[in-house]
């Protein structure tokens, strides 16, 4: 995807404008001494593209800047985004946006983050379907891919460019670490968005099916358990002869059991006989009571005759004195009672209570009992209700309760149909899915062969690793070297070699993206001090102070030149072989003579001798 930085603009607090202009199909070099703000350029670009935190230095830079802005071309449109400077590390939400790349005298807020992002995302071909295929700790599955994730392929910051393990920027941030893994396939069209959508559906379907099948297993095992229970009940019902002898299939168990509870059973209880027995026992009770009354009378007469002196109630009360409420009145009361009872006893002792003629009544009852017995004679003497009937009744009672449980269980959803449908869907989707792993292998092959070309171009600058083969580790997104005719990856030493490996990988990635016609990866590369391995970043390679001439060994000079050559040739290659545009921005401190004779190099500015990103004249007086 064509992407060209046209201009970097800083609107300064003192009213003046500081701008850096870049050319397309060029290696745009900004070279200079340390502390002049070269590296800030990367941070400024990041800031203008909605960074949520920034590495731009407050000192010298931010304190003098009012607005930061970039003007760039994507595909065929030119845009300018300007963002208000930050205060106290707090990034600004104030943006200026021009969809035609206009650079104003002074930006003003005319749009918001979301709207501008939408325009840029559109240029990056990101629509609602371009989503994170699977979730992680930092990124949720299904969220829209940010175009910033694709910028991972376009920059090599100073700390990363010579790293032996990490090849991509921002990998210290979990979000970007996860993002790289997740957008890599989309970026290089190893996986298409359509395919990913299908894949996502397949995954969720498989998950659903597994879940349902697990549930189904539980239901099945429960079902068989209940079937067994019901079978036992049927058997018992047969034993009790509550059910006909026909064979009952398993699916009819419940209905048959229900049938049993529905029918009203007239058990063979003889109501007449029961009535007679009840009558008899009533009569017997009456006789018993009457006989007792008779005895009472006899007893009373006897007691009263034999006992003149003692008063039974008084004795009784005295014996049970502990049961009385203990008040002064109690004693008085007892005294009164004693007197009264004495009188009473005297009066009564001469009399007899009337004796009702209960004898005839008793005989009457006995007579009736005999009649009942006569009637009962025609019934067998065994228990009125035999055990069998008891069992039947209790069984039906139990069954009523059990059926309510069985029915609950029966109503539990059956997932068989759902599972079947989902499996059908799955088969259909799976037939549509493109085997990504195959694509991956092919892509890795392509990438490795591209890298190999660059490694060969680097040639003897790789030292002892010259002639080694490129091995791209898809999982870690890193590059290794192996000896020809060997499978083991070498532990490549020397940061110079690491630098070349980084350059080769990134140039290859861009070439691959052009080959794959990726709509997502912008065709530019920002490199921060690829000469680091040869000199560190403390001093300047200024021609004048002789550092370049005096302290850089010849082999290192050769290697730096080689690296520059690589970049120069890459632009040629893309222009001529692929008819594509490309832009490299190089932040360096090498002197101009290093790229002498390389046609595609364009010196943007040299931050030396008082020239810097923010010059003294740019500061507020």
């Amino acid at each position: 995807m064509r992407f060209i930085f046209k201009q970097l603009t800083l609107w300064l607090n003192n009213g003046s404008i500081r701008k850096l202009e870049f050319e397309e199909n060029k290696v745009n070099v900004i070279t200079g001494a340390s502390g002049t703000g070269k590296t800030e350029i990367m941070a400024i670009i990041d800031y203008c593209f909605f960074a949520s935190e920034t590495k731009i230095a407050e000192e010298k830079i931010n304190e003098n800047v009012n607005w930061y802005g970039v003007t760039f071309e994507i595909n065929k449109s030119t845009y300018t985004i300007a963002r208000k400077s930050f205060t106290d590390k707090k990034v600004s939400d104030t943006y200026y946006f021009s969809p035609v790349g206009e650079i104003p005298e002074l930006p003003f807020e005319n749009n918001n983050t979301d709207n501008i992002k939408k325009v840029i995302e559109n240029e990056f071909s990101i629509d609602k379907n371009v989503v994170i295929p699977y979730g992680g700790r930092h990124i949720k599955a299904g969220t829209k891919v940010s175009f910033k994730y694709f910028q991972l392929f376009t920059s090599q910051s100073e700390n990363v460019i010579v790293n032996s393990e990490v090849y991509f920027d921002k990998q210290n941030k979990g979000r970007y670490r996860e993002a790289l893994e997740r957008v890599f396939d989309i970026a290089f069209k190893i996986d298409t968005v359509e395919n990913m959508l299908i894949d996502e559906k397949v995954t969720s379907l498989t998950r659903d099916i597994n879940r349902l099948e697990r549930k189904q297993t539980i239901i099945d095992s429960e079902k068989s358990l209940f079937e067994n229970d019901m079978k036992r009940d049927i058997k018992r019902a047969r034993e009790l002869q509550l059910i006909s002898n026909e064979y009952i299939p398993a699916n009819m168990y419940l209905d048959s059991l229900k049938e049993i509870t529905k029918t009203v059973y007239s058990f063979d209880i003889n109501k007449d006989k029961e009535e007679l027995v009840r009558k008899k026992s009533d009569l017997l009770l009456k006789i018993k009571n009457l006989k007792r009354l008779e005895n009472e009378y006899k007893k009373y007469i006897e007691v009263e005759k034999s006992n003149y002196d003692s008063l039974k109630p008084v004795n009784y009360i005295k014996e049970n004195y502990y049961g009385l409420l203990n008040f002064p009145e109690t004693a008085m009361l007892l005294q009164i009672l004693e007197e009264d009872f004495k009188v009473l006893k005297k009066k009564i002792s001469l009399k007899k209570p009337f004796n009702i003629n209960i004898k005839s009544e008793i005989e009457n009852y006995i007579q009736k009992v005999e009649e009942v017995d006569e009637d009962l004679g025609q019934y067998p003497e065994e228990n009125l209700i035999n055990n069998d009937v008891y069992e039947k009744i209790s069984f039906i009672g139990e069954l009523r309760y059990k059926i309510s449980i069985y029915e609950n269980k029966k109503n539990v959803e059956d997932y068989k149909e759902q599972i079947f449908n989902k499996k059908e869907q799955l088969v259909e989707l799976e037939s549509k899915i493109v085997d990504v792993s195959e694509n991956r292998v092919l892509f890795v092959n392509l990438l490795e062969s591209l890298i190999q070309n660059y490694l060969e171009e680097v040639g003897d600058a790789l030292g002892i690793y010259e002639g080694y083969k490129a091995v791209f580790n898809y999982t870690n997104k890193s590059l290794g070297l192996r000896k020809p005719n060997s499978l083991s990856i070498s532990n490549v030493g020397s940061s110079s070699n690491h630098l070349f490996m980084h350059l080769c990988l990134f140039l290859s990635l861009h070439e691959a993206s052009v080959i794959q016609k990726s709509e997502y990866i912008p065709q530019y590369l920002i490199l921060d001090q690829p000469s680091r391995p040869y000199y560190g970043d403390e001093k300047d390679f200024d021609d004048d102070d002789g550092v370049w001439n005096n302290s850089i060994v010849e082999t290192d000079k050769y290697k730096i030149r080689k690296a520059m050559q690589l970049l120069n040739d890459f632009i040629d290659k893309l222009n001529s072989e692929y008819k594509e545009d490309f832009q490299i921005i190089l932040l360096e401190h090498i002197p101009g003579k290093v790229w002498e004779g390389l046609d595609n190099f364009h010196l943007v500015e040299e931050f030396r001798n008082g020239n810097a990103l923010i010059r003294n004249s740019d500061e507020m007086v």
């Binding site: 009571n289 049961g323 009672l337 209570p353």
Partner: protein, 152 residues
């Protein structure tokens, strides 16, 4: 002396039993009062007493109509004797009755609530039965003791 909850309940019902009769008589001898509770605690007797459709005009009539109910009156009398005495003492203490000579007299100044919600179902039944039982108890106490065959 400790009074258990049980005692307390029995004595209260007993007290109400006494009051059901005193409502009609205002005055009753102590010995006669002792006869009241055994009637009421006998469920079947109570049922007969509170039923307005059953006519009972004397103790003899009651015994003749329901002889079996009286086969154990003597036993009941004795087992409830302490409860009866306690009930009398309790009523006295509550100021609902006064004891004079050998009689207990209803203290009409102190009103007692006969509302069902205050005294409960059982007490209400007892109160209902009071009219008929008081009629029976109009008899001489010696005859009552004699016919009920309470052993003295």
């Amino acid at each position: 002396m400790q009074i258990s909850n049980d005692t307390y309940n029995n004595e209260l019902i007993g007290g109400i039993s006494m009051l059901s009769i005193l409502k009609e008589f205002k005055k009753i001898t102590l010995t006669k009062a002792l006869l009241i509770i055994p009637f009421y605690t006998h469920q079947q007797s109570l049922r007969v007493l509170r039923n307005n459709n059953i006519k009972i005009r004397s103790i003899e009539e009651f015994i003749i109509k329901y002889p079996s109910y009286f086969s154990n009156y003597n036993e009941r009398f004795y087992s409830l004797l302490t409860v009866s005495i306690n009930s009398i003492i309790l009523l006295n203490k509550m100021g609902l009755i006064t004891i004079e000579d050998n009689c207990i007299i209803l203290n009409e100044e102190n009103e007692f609530s006969y509302e069902k919600k205050d005294i409960g179902n059982r007490a209400c039944e007892i109160l209902k039965a009071g009219r008929k039982l008081s009629y029976i108890l109009k008899d001489d106490e010696e005859n009552l003791y004699l016919q009920l065959k309470v052993e003295i």
